[in-house]
Subunit: 281 residues, 4 copies
């Protein structure tokens, strides 16, 4: 397994797409040295975007979290969250009325910004569904799992509405050794129980990459000029590969150096490069 120097790799590309967790930050905060990467991107005038499966917070809050970690150069226009994709979908498909959601008050931003009324699942009256236009799974926090997941099932049995999953990840890390169930895990259970097809957003789906691609300011950029950097084979690398980008697997997160070769072999998902981390020295 050949390990490449990250700086030499990014020198070949004009635009860099980064995954967030496991690449730029982890449970401890910033991955040491990553701040220099963003300085280098600025110095070399490369565009970058952060593609994150997240609908728990507004894009501005996501950007702010990098400022607090010491990277002022990541601003809201650099952020591509799966929540933004879900919002885009709602904008096209739901023109007015109420959207029921599972998630925190913060996550309701993705509905309210559109001028739609966001109804927390806990406040929904199953007897009055006439103006309910859609259901959105936004965040695993902000509701009672037992009461409200059962309520969700009965809502979907009574009314045929589109269901949006704003983050298809099954789990997320909460500490070095522990993970928690994310919206993608809960929504897959509900989808299987009600037997309907939900509309999910997040890597590895191409939708995420095209959304970022459409945001690139430099009109001359082609896919071969873009590099996707991620720590997870099944989301970042598969999605990048499928969209036709070159990809770097970094070993600072989900995929450890000792497992990388076996995981690549067994999954059949092959990154273009492997680097220790997304740091330039």
């Amino acid at each position: 397994m050949k390990i490449h120097d990250f700086k030499s790799v990014i020198d070949k590309y004009k635009v860099i797409f980064f995954d967030a967790y496991g690449v730029l930050k982890n449970y401890n905060g910033l991955i040491p040295g990553v701040e220099k990467t963003f300085q280098y991107l600025k110095d070399t005038n490369k565009e970058f975007y952060i593609l994150t499966n997240d609908a728990s917070r507004k894009p501005q809050q996501l950007a702010d979290s990098y400022h607090q970690l010491g990277i002022p150069d990541i601003v809201v226009t650099n952020i591509i969250s799966s929540g933004m994709l879900a919002m885009d979908y709602l904008r096209q498909k739901v023109k007015k009325g109420k959207v029921v959601f599972l998630g925190t008050e913060d996550s309701a931003y993705y509905i309210e910004t559109l001028g739609l009324e966001a109804v927390p699942i806990s406040e929904l009256d199953l007897g009055h569904l006439s103006d309910i236009q859609a259901l959105a799974f936004l965040d695993d926090e902000g509701f009672d799992w037992k009461t409200d997941l059962n309520k969700t099932i009965n809502l979907l049995r009574r009314k045929n509405i589109p269901v949006i999953v704003a983050n298809t990840d099954a789990t997320y890390p909460v500490s070095k050794k522990e993970i928690a169930i994310a919206m993608g895990g809960l929504s897959a259970m509900i989808e299987s129980i009600v037997g309907k097809q939900f509309v999910g957003f997040g890597k590895p789906d191409s939708q995420m990459f095209i959304f970022a691609y459409d945001h690139i300011k430099n009109a001359a950029i082609e896919k071969k000029d873009i590099l996707m950097v991620g720590d997870t084979l099944h989301t970042d690398i598969l999605g990048g590969n499928k969209f036709g980008l070159d990809t770097v697997l970094v070993l600072s997160g989900n995929t450890q150096a000792e497992d990388a070769e076996v995981k690549i072999q067994s999954s059949g998902i092959i990154p273009t490069y492997i680097c220790e981390s997304a740091t330039v020295e």
Copy 2:
């Protein structure tokens, strides 16, 4: 679709296996007339067993519930619960130590009866797992879904122990129009997330039928003498068919008269007979 007379059907068999919910009782209590069926079974000297996907209560409690509904002839020896199968498995595979469980105090009966120590998931210390021998999903009540399902995942990531699912049903009915997520639904989500294979118990698995078959007192009984009566194609009828029994689909529960033909056609699960209900007038 030919509807058969239930009495004429059972007259051809010596032993009757019944599903419980949707066949003998529903959210309203006893299905009207079922008490006469049990009188008729007594008069005609037929053996019967109730095969129920349930690990929430002790077999004695399950039997008692029928007494309260007015059928004194259903006693504990007539009850075959999936919890009893799970208990049988634990008896063979776990000789001593602690078994962590998700469920109510009542459900812990299936562990404690064996002389094993039942540890509620909420009381488990993830830092001290050395004497934990197995994990059992018993009932959807009795724990906090968010906290304790996340804890369950982290337990299974840290320690490789057998996992028993004492009821593989994904949902259960709570009223005429509403259902709730059952242990089978929750455990399937966890199984998919941790990527391990759990050992599940309940119809349609053959294990349930062989357990009932082994309890039959009359040694001369063969499979052709036994009739399985159920309201659900995917559990009762599939399981009965596969075990080699003749089967009756009754229309008093999960499968309504107006959908029965379409459901049989689309699932490919074909009952031997269809009857309005398990009543003998």
Copy 3:
């Protein structure tokens, strides 16, 4: 269920995306009246694209088939085939060497056009795999299923290469009543057996829609100006909805008038409009 007039619907949009089979043609040839639709599109100066899950023939052959059916206005630049997406992927990810394929000689076009060497699976020597760079599932014709699917499995066990599925449909219609297994069906079996993740192309994946979107000549077009017309909920309508387009379900193919409401209800995939067919009288 409200049935809309197709002409009134398309009048609201500037660009129309059509599915091919079940919308424009079927086992009998052209769906009667569809030729007038294309005359109307020409008269009203609307752009159109045909999005087809097909990698069995070159785009030019696909266009020619419409000429023979009497629609000269469909030319190669109107065709978006899943084979073209697969080719685009290979162009990005495989720069040189050999690509093994399952399919006809015609389907090998998608590999050879790139300057890569296309090796039919039947001619592959499992003992000499060093220059094999990828595997492509192109067409269900052109190879011996038993011999060559088994050979495919053993190739993938020996060498870790990217696998491309150039049409993810599980089946295709061959007559009014009969269907046949397509590449998506066969490749899903192989994927499950070898436990690797293949890269598939075709509706409902967003990739297909973005590829068409990128081809639109009129730079001022936004998603709200585009209508997707299809006969299949799980590919055409789900894909169009997810990409943020308005959608028409036509009842001339896979979804019959008598089942449409039940299928929409049970799948949860909701078209913007329902029309009898893609004809303008």
Copy 4:
């Protein structure tokens, strides 16, 4: 990972269940030393059964194959094949008429023995289905995959009949390095395409173990007296564990010494013992 001595292990049990391929024989013939195991079983008066996922040959042919390999003590009454289970199912559920099958002439034995008419799929006339009572997947040999699998799908779309899969294994080994797709693989593809539920037979299903258990001559035998010996975690060991038997994983077949610990860890299927092979020196 502790390796146990096979002889010491079997000394604790009265009845031994063996898997065939990878335990008793492989692509080279008998696994060296296994003949002494059967001498030892005879000397110590232990009962044994061979539980094999196989419906390609009659039980007598399966027994004969061991005689040819030099173990005369394995006779037809020691053989429990998944084909026998499928036959038992057909006996209960199909009293007369025709059963269509995919497989060799040899495999048709499992239908013809019952006095039913076995119709090879290639000879079926899709226009005359009135006396077709069931479909059986018996063996991957004996039919043309492309023609006859497509015909199978169209049969199942036209007529709602029970479908029996007489061997649920997805693959089988053909040489040291190569495997081939088995009936379980093909039937799972068809099941997914037609959306119906087939009735499958074979380990790890309990049905296989209860069938063997019912054959034990010594009436005093309990589950704790029986040992299951296998080389595959997902069939032999999972099935044995679930039925409540103690299990031995041998390292002479599917599971190599170097992977055993990782496979046990990652699957969560835990054998009671691990032994090098099923040999007693």
